[in-house]
Amino acid sequence: MAEKRIIIVGGGLAGLMNAITACEQGAEVDLVSYQPVRRSHSVCAQGGINGAVNTKGEGDSPEFHFDDTIYGGDFLANQPMVRDMCYDAPKTIYLLDRMGVTFSRTAEGLLDFRRFGGTLFNRTAFAGATTGQQLIYALDEQVRRYEAEGMVRKFEHHSFQSLILDGQRNCRGIVLTDLRTMENEALLADAVSMCVGGNGAIYGQTTLSPVLCTGSAACRCYQQGVWYANGEFIQIHPTAIPGTDKCRLISESVRGEGGRVWVPRSKGDTRPGRDIPESDRWYFLEEKYPAYGNLVPRDIGSRELFDVCVNQGLGVGGGWKVYLDVTHIPEATLRAKLGGVMEIYEKFAGEDPYHNPMMVFPAMHYSMGGIYIGYGKETNHRDRLPANWTDYKHMTNVSGLFAGGESDYQYHGANRLGANSLLSCLWAGRVLGPEMVRYLDNSDLPELSGKVVDAAVKEQDEEYARVRAMTGSSNPHLLQREMQEHVAKYCSVVRYNSELKQLDAKLDELLDRWDDCTVADSSPHANQEIVFIRELRDQLLMAKVIVMGAIARDESRGAHYKPDFPERNDEQWLKTTVAEFDGDRLPQFSYEDVDISLIKPRLRSYVTASHGGQEAKDEK
């Protein structure tokens, strides 16, 4: 029986919940994070968390939530675990309520719920428009309690570098870098989980933090043989404030509270938005999608905005912008329910959104794909997986290594519904703690050789020293910009194989030029340059997984849209893409059948609401 100690890499919602449930099982936790866990990117989530609590008396149920999620994901998600998540969701929300999250409340003092994309029910609990912040603070506080009791050791200001694998490829720990002293050290534990978030830095034009959300940790695992799934499924959120350093998110909840998307009817109308009368406004989402209106799922929303601006040239002032209008909503309501988002628009766009329609455009937002994990079910890849793989939920193809949160791939299929991410992160955390402890209790692992540990640390020392000594001619920051410009342009809402192939060639060129990087900072203390350069290579390798996966998949499904293959092709493509690193720079792809045992795939069209949800509403 292994020592009851686990390592969690990443201190966002998934990692923190993982820590709490592990401590409850009596495990000690080492928690690794770049920055104080309270500052993790989860803090940016705005709109809310889904759970079919049905306090609005609409007849909502976890079954409808499950159907909406599978349908929203264009049937690519393995169904049993999504069902479990949806059925557990009300309990998760109640738990966060008990932890003290300052959720918005109804007149009777109950949790309030609002509507979100891809559903007709009010099932999203929210804390103003800063829900992610309040959720992560509540979890941070609970973990601090365990820290005070000596159950949790935090390694903040540390960066994961590699997994320590023994001779049988069991995961036995990690190597990490102290970002102040720049020293590498080993942390040992027989169960490790990666809760390491998304990879917006690859796109640059993203609502994620391009500084923080590099996807580097997941990519290091991939480079050590951990499988990565559905990388090509990238969510582009329809409404973000365009910007050079970041595209700041304008939450879907703005539309949930009645915000309306429109453009001027006449091309190149130069009047300020507030002066354009109703008759001259084209509410194109409401017109085309009478049932869901402005709350169509994000892949559809982004495609429509893209088409209106890029193809039809009808964006605001002829540019790539549309109006998101809340000026018809009472200011008091906006302040109470959307205050945080209004603040962001005011501060960063420099305009008053209470009296002027906001200007937004799609931006990269989320990675549906992620580290490959199982859920106790069989797969056609069985012969290449460890013997115990079906025994533990959320375990990767490496025994003892788990993953969860945005960095896993399992819950959102080809497109994620809004407010389901906060849910899937917390759900993953709730599953991971007990599963990892059960793994420790049932595993008989060989003694770990000190030589293996030393070699792993030495490898990182050598790589660090090698990068530090680079004196080439490539400016790594400009290299990153070039990658971002190309990826955001050619691997976004609309994808063509010819362009993707050019993009792939570009990535190869950038990888070559990476070898020629120069290091502007050789300080041995708090050195950000060397970390940046190393993580840039990870971004390039992960970009190849995304782009080559997109090239291979000749169909359109959810967020992956190819005008040359505009239909969904279940016969050939109702499969999970599994990418395995070839050791040099290429992903090798194989495909796994999707578990569709609970809901039969049907045509996905949000023009009408012809599915479970509408039937329930019609019955009432």
């Binding site: 920055q35 104080p36 309270r38 500052r39 993790s40 990117h41 803090v43 940016c44 309990k91 109640y94 738990l95 309520d97 008990r98 932890m99 003290g100 999250v101 300052t102 959720f103 918005s104 409340r105 009777e108 003092g109 109950l110 949790l111 804390a127 103003g128 800063t130 912040q133 309040q134 603070y137 509540a138 506080e141 609970q142 601090r144 309690r145 820290e147 005070a148 102040r180 933090s209 391009p210 500084v211 923080l212 050079t244 350093d245 970041k246 700041r248 998110l249 945080g340 603040e343 501060k347 960063f348 766009a349 420099g350 920051h477 502007a520 900072d521 300080s523 203390h525 708090a526 050195n527």
Partner: protein, 254 residues
Amino acid sequence: MAEQTVHLKIRRQDGPGKPWYWQQFKVPYTPGMNVITCLEEIRRNPVTAGGKPVAPVVWECACLEEVCGSCSMRINGTPQQACSALVENFKQPITLEPMDTFPIVRDLIVDRQVMFDNLIRVKAWVPIDGTHDLGPGPRQPSKQQTWMYVLSRCMTCGCCTDACPQVNDRQDFIGPAILSQVRLFNAHPTGAMHHHARLDEIMGPGGIVECGNAQNCVRVCPKQIPLTQSISELGRDTIAYGVRKFFTQPDVEM
């Protein structure tokens, strides 16, 4: 603003205990630029205004939209978030300094661990029984949620603590942010079960009595949290508690 470049004056320091020094930079201006984008420009081309190549300035940031509290620094003398500091709102040369009420790590990075340690001192959490299903939490009036929500937005950014003249190397004042969190947790129906323990902590050394009422904190808080109101309410609570405690036998449950 007609300027084509942004002129920055940055206080740098290579490490703890090393001497500090000024460096000046000029970066091209683009509309909507904030201090972080200026620092990113410097990182792309780390050459001083005088033409000397240097190591790029290091700083901390994460969310870039003023919800994480990472990028606190003094800009033209006032502690604030760098991501929301739009260049056009500041007099040039824009001066950047670390919040040196906290130990300096390097350049603009400081170590704010003391704030997290203080959150442990005051038991800044709700003591739940466990994650098992116990149904919803207690009902709370919407009006109460409204003001508690504001307090719950504290990012532990440290601006209030840096601005406070009572937080210095001569005394151990716990600072406004932590005090406001005490008020938040004492107001929550379950959190209130540690009500007395928190008050005991802030009635001790470095506690509420150290507040000198300078009111700098509420002026610099990026989330407009009513810190002075929190401190004033706690002042009243601690007096009432102190008096009751004085007249209660030590072995009697309060």
